[in-house]
């Protein structure tokens, strides 16, 4: 069996005195789609920042495609794993055209045929060449998120790290982006690590998931068990119940942490 695409063992991250990630361990196989689920402050985004090299101060072991993140320079990592952020309104430079956003990534990494690559990657995310010279304000939210995905894909990574990629989008646009991610994954054999608070999105896109709470991984489970609402952990069951909609009886079971 080949090495996992992502392996995290006993990962600890502290910000001052607060513990953001507390002994987290999980691994994602090559080509797998893995969900990292939790509420705000659970540490899920912090894990993603470690894996993308944005955060350098941590303890434990973390490997991406066999490269030890304690030694690897972030630049080399960028060719392997790319990050897509939550808010396409904030993650694209407002004064840069789509062409410049994509061209810059190609230039930094000295890619050959940048022109051809920009056209190809735009087509891959379902935007025609007519979008190439537009500014972000000339695009809808869904189109912006497609550009953000194109920017990640132009370096031809094998791993996509997705931080709440559809949370800022309307339901109908969310469906388009989820379908796009599924297609790109199949076409390119991508490994996906999806960080989200939305269990339904995980059920739609992932095979396995880990549930985080207060920096710890509470449970790692198959998405099939999520769909059956079979969980060993009370916290996961609460999350599942709350995601299904409002239920007065259910509310009584959740204790306030105030």
């Amino acid at each position: 069996m080949s090495a996992p695409a992502i392996a995290v063992r006993d990962l600890n991250v502290r910000f001052g005195t607060s513990v953001a990630v507390d002994n987290a361990s999980f691994s994602v196989a090559g080509g797998e789609s893995f969900g990292l689920v939790g509420e705000s402050g659970s540490g899920k985004t912090t894990v993603l920042r470690v894996l993308s090299g944005l955060l350098r101060d941590w303890q434990g072991e973390a490997q991406v495609a066999g490269h030890d993140l304690r030694q690897e320079r972030p630049r080399g990592l960028a060719r392997i794993a790319q990050l897509v952020f939550q808010d396409p309104y904030a993650s694209l430079h407002p004064l840069h055209t789509v062409d410049r956003v994509l061209g810059e990534a190609a230039a930094i990494h000295s890619l050959d045929r940048p022109n051809q690559r920009i056209d190809d990657v735009l087509r891959a995310v379902g935007l025609g060449p007519e979008f190439r010279f537009r500014f972000p304000h000339q695009l809808s939210g869904g189109q912006r998120q497609r550009v953000a995905i194109a920017r990640a894909l132009i370096l031809e990574p094998t791993i996509l790290l997705l931080d709440e990629p559809t949370s800022a989008l309307d339901v109908s646009v969310q469906a388009e982006i989820l379908n796009l991610l599924r297609r790109l994954r199949a076409e390119r054999g991508l490994t996906l690590l999806l960080v989200t608070h939305n269990l339904a999105v995980v059920a739609n896109l992932c095979e396995r998931l880990a549930v985080m709470r207060r920096g710890r991984i509470v449970e790692t489970m198959d998405a099939a068990r999520l769909r059956q609402a079979e969980s060993e952990q009370a916290y996961t069951r609460q999350l599942i119940a709350a995601s299904r909609g409002y239920d007065r009886a259910n509310a009584a079971e959740i204790a306030f942490d105030a």
Binding site: E39, S40, D170, S172, L178, N179, R182, A200, N204, G245
Partner: protein, 280 residues
């Protein structure tokens, strides 16, 4: 039949911008009693502006027009500023999406809630404080005395939203407009906050307009649902029957929603029909 708590007919909101005119709400009409009415739609559907038009909070250059806008028999269109002020807060309250932007950052949360009480009731500071502490307890804040002295940046999102609810409910309004009151909150906190609103609405016999983009939530929380698209109401139905909705837009939205119990696979993408924007 008794007169409705709120009656709206042919409501329009228009913005005359330097480059173009935007007609954001186009002839919305509905009436409601003391019930939980949900308004759902995607961004730009006009759902928030409908709520703001009712409470008279459409910012310039927005212009509100309606052939009828009546709250408990009072014609809201004819009210002057003083008349509006007497009604807003006292009888119609509004909860906004994000407590971070709705609370005064340089006042403690206790003082803010007490101020809301004293504006609408002739009461001394001591009585206002007593009522505020009761209200904080009613929205299930465990240590009201401690929370009274906290500033907004010292409270969590869920607690901030409960503070907002306490502030809006302390004048005991007849109609509460809640615009995405739980969208900034985690799902478990969301359930708790909704339970508080639910109980208070039921106990006090308030009317509630619940504005949200979340179809599942509205279907499970409200009594009745209005679906908005392009500034119009395209469909009205009982919340419990939302899954049997007729309009292609509503059906498309429901189909596009990923479900936690559904197998993985492509989601049907909503095809927008320009006819939905046409005259009804």
């Amino acid at each position: 039949m008794s007169r409705p708590l709120l009656a709206v007919e042919d409501l329009h909101v228009r913005f005359a911008l330097p480059t173009r005119n935007v007609h954001a709400v186009r002839g919305v009409g509905f009436s409601m009693g003391r019930e939980k009415l949900g308004i759902v739609g995607e961004s730009g559907s006009g759902k928030s502006l409908t709520g703001r038009a009712i409470i008279g909070q459409v910012a310039k250059p927005g212009v509100v027009a309606a052939s009828r806008l009546e709250f408990d028999g009072i014609d809201l269109r004819s009210l002057d500023k003083a008349g509006r002020r007497a009604l807003t807060g006292r009888r119609i309250g509004m909860i906004m999406q994000d407590p971070k932007f709705s609370l005064n950052p340089v006042m403690t949360v206790g003082e803010q809630i007490a101020e809301a009480y004293r504006v609408h009731n002739r009461a001394g500071a001591a009585e206002a404080k007593k009522r505020t502490l009761e209200m904080l307890a009613a929205v299930r804040i465990r240590e009201p005395e401690r929370v009274w002295g906290l500033y907004p940046h010292e409270v969590s999102g869920g607690m901030g939203q409960r503070v907002m609810i306490a502030m809006m409910l302390i004048p005991e309004p007849d109609l509460l407009i809640a615009d995405e009151p739980t969208s900034a909150l985690d799902v478990t906190v969301q359930t708790q906050v909704l339970a508080i609103i639910d109980d208070l609405v039921t106990q006090r016999g308030m009317g509630l307009i619940f504005i949200s983009h979340d179809l599942n939530l509205v279907a499970s929380f409200c009594d009745r649902v209005l679906v908005m698209y392009g500034g119009r109401i395209v469909e009205t139905c009982r919340a419990s029957e939302l899954d049997r909705a007729q309009h292609p837009y509503t059906r498309g939205l429901l189909a596009a929603l990923p479900r936690i119990d559904a197998p993985p696979g492509d989601l049907p993408v909503l095809r927008r029909d320009p006819a939905w924007l046409g005259e009804l």
